[in-house]
Amino acid sequence: MTARERIAGNVAGYVDDRTGAAKWMKKNLTKVFPDHWSFLLGEICLYSFIILLLSGTFLTFWFDPSMREVVYDGSYEPLKGLEMSAAYASTLDISFEVRGGLLMRQIHHWAALIFMVGIVVHLLRVYFTGAFRKPREFNWIIGVGLLTLGIVEGFLGYSLPDDLLSGTGIRIAEAIIQALPLVGSYLAFFAFDGAFPGTAFIPRIYTVHVLLLPGIFLALITVHLMLVWYQKHTQFPGPGRTEKNVVGYPLMPVYMAKAGGFFFIVFGVTAFLGAVASINPIWLYGPYTPGQISAGSQPDWYMGWLDGLVRMAPPLETHAFGHTISWNILIPGLILPGIMFTGLALYPFIESWATGDKREHHLLDRPRNTPNRTAIGVMALTFTLVSLINGGNDIIATTFHLTINQMMWFSRIAIIVLPPIAFVITKRLCLSLQRADRDLVLHGRETGRLVRMPSGEFVEVHEPISPEKAWLLTSHEQLAPLELPEHDASGVRRAGSIKNKIRNRVSRAAAVAVPKATETERRELEGHH
């Protein structure tokens, strides 16, 4: 034993005697994680969250969350001498007077956008591979919660500088609060401590943005990761991979190195964007006053779909008993998002109800093997994408020489017509891919080599695929539709027969599949050739 080893051993022994960490470390440092690029998408969120905490802390050193009126006397000439809130003036100071301040502001904002993009692509991976199934339903709900809070946190964050663009967004948020029947006006007064804009909301949203929500984030992310740790990571199907094992590399040293390296790459990409691309140039927007507005006022992209829904809503209002109900804001601003997020959060339960599958799953699905789920996902994506596009309808109209009215009518019709079409097309595509898999297993790979037989017949030579590949294409299970009884033994409708009928129909739709190739079929064909 060298001197160095002895010293290291003594230090480790000292710590272990007092904490008992060795046993715990030994167990957890050798924990195995499966390897796939899409399993790193969640890490993008985690790392950009850390970047957000660090850069955000830097910004709080100089940001003054106050709506006190000040006269700007900084170095940005076009705003000199104007009255503005201290929040806006201090954001200008961060941008132009604080060393590295503008870079930090831009890193913070780009990191927020990457955080939200990361959440969405991570969610799509989890959804389309069925990683939300038992036992991971709670983690799915936590994820949906993080997505929702991320949208709120981002919105509050870019509202803090109190510039013309963000003030416009706050005004719309106030309108959405006011659209709530009966309590709306009171809630808005409560939130803004009086009439809009007042002097209260910047200090209030500051506390929520830098203290309350980051705390909740930290707690939820911890639980999210602990559940992944406890339940172990899912893996894609393949030879040697079962529902009962995890095939991959140990945390130490392989994943430590990979994850640590990936953190720095995420930081690098964020810093690169912050250094080369301008984001939220608040000095161009000007200070907020309710009497001003800019053409092309847009929210950040993760709110864009919501803005798009509001923009396409037809002007519907009802007046009753001295109250006005603005359906044109209430439906797209509160009811539709409520339905969307509730549906998203409850999806794991809806699916297991429809398929009757209550078992644990640790092997992931290939999206083509669950046509119904994949089609529902693409349908929801189409809906969101149409509304997102309509959120930028004025920019798109001027860029592509369209009219804003055409854009609006396209969106109004497309948001109803396109999602069902997307559902049907996706389902057909999945079934076609299943058919192609089946052909591949039964007939092998087409080599493109043509052979002329003695009889004069031309045939293409097919090469059998590898056993690994054949396993991958046939290992999934195909669920049979539910057959819940609708009548009892004597042919009388049972209690709850309507519920059973609905479940039977839904599960029949979910179970539509091209029968996968079986071993007997394969043998038969081989004997045939």
Binding site: Q106, P281, G286, T403
Partner: protein, 263 residues
């Protein structure tokens, strides 16, 4: 004689004489200079008007009518003034390329002299807003950039965007970008209200305030890209586009690479 000397020593004599002298000098100068101008430019002006009329008959009358009285597809030009003609023709908007909802800016069809002749002809039909002179347009000296920005955000940004990049209006109409537009044309647009734009009379926005607006637009135009690539200065749409392409593209690329290396 005695009476005269008494009047000469009267208390009011001084002020009266002063007013008389100022009046005489002023009137003489006014009459002399007016006569002077008239004698030198009346003939020139008549020639210019005639030139302008010829250009008008060839290039404009098919829509605006032989006497600029307007027609079914084009408005009357009587009383629109020289400023309006200068703006529309010198920025290439008139003659229109096609009958779309809005005349687009393009390379001008007529040169500066021809535009001047046309403008003089139209101005001769009835009085209207004049083309602002070089002396009036000294926005660097007479404008205030901060005040201009405030006025711009209050009166212009709602259509032309916060940085003067332009924006969409209804039915395919649009507020054009203000980047690279000559100060004279910005001024003329404000006093004549071309196409969908309202008129900002000197009572609404004084000439000095107009110069401040021009100064702010010019300052925005020449402002360096402070935070890196400006992404078109149209707000968060292009930022979202960049993060969904370059941002997540780079990160997914790295993720694929990291997962590949372990094999």
């Amino acid at each position: 004689m005695k009476r005269l000397s008494r009047l000469r020593r009267h208390r009011a004599a001084g002020p009266i004489l002063l007013i008389f002298a100022l009046f005489t000098i002023g009137t003489t100068f006014q009459v002399a200079s007016a006569v002077n101008n008239e004698t030198t430019s009346v003939a020139d002006r008549a020639v210019t008007i005639e030139e302008g009329k010829q250009i008008f008959l060839k290039g404009c009358s098919s829509c605006h009518g032989l006497n600029a009285e307007g027609g079914q597809i084009a408005p009357s030009l009587i009383g629109v003034g020289a400023a309006s003609v200068d703006f529309q023709v010198a920025t290439g908007r008139m003659p229109m390329a096609d009958m779309s909802v809005q005349a687009m800016r393009k390379d001008p069809v007529y040169n500066a002299e021809e535009v001047h002749a046309l403008a003089t002809y139209v101005a001769s039909l009835a009085p209207g807003p004049q083309v602002p002179g070089e002396e009036l347009l000294n926005y660097e000296r007479d404008g205030s950039v901060a005040e201009g920005g405030e006025l711009f955000r209050t009166n212009c940004a709602m259509c032309h965007n916060f940085a003067g990049q332009g924006g969409a209006l209804t039915q395919g109409k649009y507020a054009p970008t203000l980047m690279g537009v000559e100060p004279r044309h910005i001024y003329e647009a404000m006093i004549t209200g071309p196409q969908s734009m309202p008129v900002f009379s000197d009572k609404t926005i004084t000439p000095e305030e107009k110069l401040s607006i021009i100064k702010w637009i010019k300052s925005a135009e020449s402002e360096p890209q402070l935070g890196g690539a400006a992404l078109g200065r149209v707000g968060p749409v292009t930022e979202g586009l960049l993060v969904w392409t370059l941002g997540i593209g780079l990160l997914i690329g790295v993720a694929v690479w990291l997962a590949m290396k372990a094999r």
